[in-house]
Amino acid sequence: MAEQRYWEDIEVDAPVPPLMKNATPRQLVQWAGASGDYYEIHYHEKTALANMLPGIIVHGALKGAWLGQLLSDWVGEKGRVKKYSVSYRSMDVPGDSLTLTGKVTKKYVDGKDHVVEAEIWLQNGKGEKTTPGTAVVVFPSKK
């Protein structure tokens, strides 16, 4: 685990520390089994091609879970993810180098919570944001 960050250290417009992923077909099968999503377009090329896809594609919910990992790693064990949303705008394929990251948009105190809001996204090897979203997280405070 990375070091614990505190709310006071987070600056608006600062990047969310990136997380790199590169899914193999094997990982997609592993995800299918672990999540229970057995739709064939994620592991059976013939079905994917018949659905006018370029080949097998990465599960949307796996990309969503990676964004969850990005946020949990960022807030650390003393922080908390309150809410995040993800929009599956374009597809991603196995073998591509994917980067998950984001940018802080706001920080404020809400009652006891030291809140940070961010835009988050997954970008493909060409730098295209295929999977954008937003997040609301809570960091511990030094005070």
Binding site: M1, K21, Q27, Q30, W31, G33, A34, S35, G36, D37, G60, A61, L62, G64, A65, W66, L67, G68, Q69, L71, S72, D73, E77, R80, V81, K82, K83, Y84, S85, V86, S87, Y88, G133
Partner: protein, 158 residues
């Protein structure tokens, strides 16, 4: 000229009607398997002793965990209890996106009661004609009746 609406009275009536619950037990091994599938080696999702030191009863589920796909203990017996159904006007479907709102961490040993409801339905004119958006809300309550997670998924039919 715009085409007529594809939203039927059947759909409008379905909005907000909650299904009977599906009951699932959150178990340790599926959490570990799920974390491995993401490629997340956070010990909170694997090592019970470690999680206990941080005040949890057992290992916790990572964000994005899909308890609705656990093999259930109990499911609604009657088709009608599984929530209202309606015919979609199109045959092609896409998963548009998901929203996760967390209230408490999901811990191994939790018995979750899962209910679903259609949150909203609306239509848009797209490049390929009309598109129907359905917002499906899934609410997860723990053994104390406390909401631990709300998921909102956007389905797109076109």
């Amino acid at each position: 000229m715009t085409q007529g609406s594809v939203i039927t009275d059947e759909m409008k009536k379905a909005i907000g009607v909650e299904s009977e619950p599906t009951i699932v037990l959150i178990e340790k091994e599926p959490i570990r398997r799920f974390a491995a599938a993401i490629g997340d080696n956070n010990p909170l999702y694997r090592d019970e002793e470690y999680a206990k030191k941080l005040g949890y009863r057992s290992i916790i589920a990572p964000p994005g965990y899909q308890p609705q796909y656990s093999f259930p203990i109990k499911v609604p017996q009657m088709r009608a209890e599984a929530g209202p159904r309606f015919r979609l006007p199109f045959t092609r479907n896409l998963n548009g996106g998901d929203e996760y709102e967390f209230f408490q961490p999901i811990q191994a040993g939790d018995v979750l009661s899962i209910t679903r409801r259609l949150g909203d339905v609306y239509e848009r004119d797209g490049r390929m004609g009309k598109m129907l958006f359905t917002i499906n809300e899934t609410v997860f309550r723990n053994q104390k009746g406390e909401i631990v997670l709300i998921m909102r998924g956007t389905g797109i039919s076109y």
